[in-house]
């Protein structure tokens, strides 16, 4: 068991109550998104196991941190540059469950790629979510470029980008943080540290206990937050967003999160994680931690919880139905859009 995995969630009675400036309705919306992401994620696995989807890459365990972080930006105005576990983030940013299932089932109307990419490669210009690839960490430079353009054009936009802790070993991680720091760009670099890069533990990935320690090398704040506590992440992210908005530069925000599933549907984590560790990880499930907090704070009761659960079930079922009925991809379209075609309206690039 890695040091990261051994970390326990801070017991509720040792924690300060919710911040005074977070309204109950906001907390409940965050809770809705955490549960929605989990329900959508579980449905993605069900679709894979029933043979309808070829592949799943999961965000289970990361939902609390993503919701807390993305909730801190201006969801209309700001940019999200996601990675393959960013399901909760893209939901908060505005993609409805139906669009996620169109992606998961690789349908022609998959809004991210029209069925060209594997599931989990989110992107959507309408929601200001940049298209994602599979080589890890490349997107951090894209986030810095988006923020540079925002600064030059004085749009007031900032950018949040997400990456796993394994990706911080890539050169692009350094190059992006360096460039963004030199130019004091409005970027929040969110590192979701789930302790593993597929099977390689964080202790084999880096010699420092926390990714955030690396921020010192760029002269920027580095913060580590327990990602199971949504409100703590939200508070840290708000600070990072405010700093970005002021033009003071980027923040390296690390969230420690549990990885509740295997890396993907093609991975068997029992080979490299003990049963005891997997069990322990479940105790850090942000959905349960957050629910207990909300109940302790008097924000959530059985009736509200049931109401939210019912709403989510309807949305997930409806989204699945719509996606299942959606048209398959047509090989006749597979040669489109290698280059610009004059007839197409939706392109943002120019």
């Amino acid at each position: 068991m890695s040091a990261k995995e051994a970390k326990a969630v801070t017991p509720l009675d040792q924690r300060t109550p919710k911040g005074p400036d977070v309204a109950d309705e906001e907390l409940l919306e965050m809770y809705y998104f955490v549960r929605l992401a989990r329900a959508v994620d579980e449905r993605m696995w069900a679709l894979q196991r029933s043979g309808q989807a070829a592949f799943v890459i999961s965000g289970q365990g990361h939902e609390g941190a993503q919701v807390g972080a993305v909730y801190a930006i201006d969801r209309e105005k700001d940019w999200l540059v996601p990675y393959y576990r960013s399901l909760a983030s893209v939901l908060v940013k505005g993609m409805p469950p139906t669009e996620i299932f169109l992606i998961q089932l690789s349908k022609a109307t998959d809004p991210s790629s029209g069925g060209r990419q594997m599931p989990g490669h989110y992107g959507h210009s309408g929601h200001k979510i940049l298209s994602t690839s599979s080589p890890v960490t490349t997107q951090l430079l894209h986030a810095a470029g988006l923020a540079y353009a925002a600064k030059l054009r004085r749009t007031g936009e900032i950018c949040i980008t997400e990456v796993g802790e394994g990706s911080t070993s890539e050169g692009d991680f350094h190059e992006a943080l360096n460039f963004a720091s030199v130019h004091k760009l409005g970027v929040v670099f969110l590192v979701e540290n789930n302790g593993y890069a597929i099977s390689v533990p964080a202790s084999k990935q880096m010699a420092v206990p926390n990714v955030s320690a690396r921020a010192a090398g760029y002269g920027i704040p580095g913060v580590t937050v327990d990602g199971s506590h949504v409100v703590d992440v939200y508070a840290a992210a708000r600070e990072a967003v405010a700093r970005a908005r002021r033009g003071d530069g980027p923040t390296l925000l690390e969230v420690n999160v549990p990885r509740l599933t295997a890396h993907s549907s093609d991975d068997r984590q029992e080979k490299y994680r003990s049963a005891e560790e997997i069990l322990h990880t479940k105790a850090r499930d942000p959905m349960h931690v957050f629910e207990a907090e909300l109940r302790a704070w008097g924000v959530l009761d059985d009736a509200r919880a049931q109401e939210i659960a019912d709403r989510i079930r309807r949305e997930v079922d409806l989204g699945t139905e719509i996606a299942e009925a959606a048209p398959l991809t047509d090989p006749a379209t597979a040669t489109r859009y290698v280059y610009y075609e004059p007839d197409m309206p939706s392109e943002r690039g120019r």
């Binding site: 959507h124 490349t138 810095a144 360096n178 690039g349």
Partner: protein
Amino acid sequence: MADRRYLDAIRDALHEEMARDERVIVLGEDVGRKGGVFGVTDGLFEKFGGDRVLDTPLAESMIIGVSVGMAANGLIPVPEIQFADFIHPAFDQIVSEVARMRYRSNNDYGCPMTIRIPYGGGVHGALYHSQSIEAFYAHIPGLKVVAPYTPADAKGLLKAAIRDHDPVLYLEHKKLYRLIHSEIPDGDVVVPLGPAAVRRPGRDLSIFAYGLMAHEAIGAAELLASEGIEAEVVDVRTLRPLDTATILASVARTSRALIVHEDNRFGGFGAEIAATIAEEGFHFLDAPPTRLCGPEVPAVPFAQPLEHWFMPNAEKIAAAARALVAY
């Protein structure tokens, strides 16, 4: 008409495009106050300021990766890779991100940018300041690749590249910067990406080349003319998309094809031209499509006799042409 060197023509295009469209920005190593290690971006910093003429950290993946984000958020970046030899750290960004952005997003995002790349040998640059890298990138759907030879094309093709909706690799030959000058048209003249140019008509063979090798091919044609051999020189100038119609039409006239580049032959760009001629113009041919390329060593060696041994030139091209005509 103004008499401009190749280098001046590139600089003129950058000045004019930056003045025309405030979305255009230049970024790279030493492109600002210094004006580039070759002086190509000279004067841009003073005219357009450091925010639009950006001296970047020394990191090529960063230069291209940041340009991807800029392009997605309303700018038209013109990143410079200081030497083609140093582009390799950016290969992933160019191939996995730049080239695929439109296709992978099903046209939700484009990636308009022009990557300026000084390349080529014959400048005492040795293994790491002489490389030709066109074959790596011309292979990739989603990219466009140009390699101008004349000053007029250097200007007009750069303007076309900057105004294009898609990413363009603009290969400028370092030896041409100050080697050649010529009259170029006044005003905003754009040379479209794609069409090849027949620089010299001929009946006995066609020589296909680009960049410095187009210049050497002209020299070879002049040598051959004194011997009664009339070589047609086709300046390919856009490698992707490749103007196969002009290439095949030339072979139809001459029945012989000599393809010249300074990159090594095995898997080089010339193989694509040769294969196209063999597949689509076989019935025109009186001799096998033939390549004259850099030798099969990893890169251009430094010492003057070694560099001379490496580089194709007018004499070597003329010799290959004589052999082909005698086939």
